[in-house]
Symmetry: C2
Subunit: 107 residues, 2 copies
């Protein structure tokens, strides 16, 4: 692990990851979807404090990155469900580390 912090050569990989998932909203969305799939309105409620505009934009980015998938059931009105992909599920280690840190340091 130490090498990740003593060498700069891997820096771009971490920065790209931070750019992709490091935003407060994208992390909160991924965290919710890692727990269970969710319909749009429920996701907005669970994330909390996020506007529809920002939530839609964040979801587009996460879907585009292959971390989240969007399923539309053509009922009236249509039901839109978001769920984590296998690729997104691979972020569990990151969130598990966040979770452990939060428990230890949240006070």
């Amino acid at each position: 692990m130490t090498s990740a912090f003593s060498d700069g050569f891997c820096d771009s990989s971490v920065r790209a990851t931070i750019d992709l998932i490091g935003g407060k909203w994208s992390m909160a969305i991924l965290w919710q979807l890692l727990q269970e799939e969710c319909r749009y309105a429920e996701l907005q409620r669970r994330v909390g404090g996020i506007s529809q505009k920002v939530l839609s934009a964040e979801l587009r980015t996460l879907v585009g990155a292959g971390l989240v998938e969007r399923e539309v059931v053509p009922t009236v009105p249509p039901q839109v469900t978001y769920r984590i992909t296998e690729e997104g599920r691979s972020l569990e280690d990151v969130f598990a580390a966040l979770h452990r840190w939060g428990l230890q340091h949240g006070g």
Copy 2:
């Protein structure tokens, strides 16, 4: 690990952590300072693309949270150095997980 994702009860701990260190800039700053202490101008250069106003605000938050410390050497002009605290160093696991994910999925 599974319990972190199947139970909602730990949710507030993760959300508090995301609120504290989530955010593209704060994560990028922490990542740089985990590697080595850094003077202000050099930190701005390494983080890249961040304004002085935003960098200063992010650093104030991180110092206030006890994750980063600020040392002023009273030379002329003063030298201001930022370094990770022991508390901040405890985030290494989170960044190590990000780093591994980035290597595996950065393509």
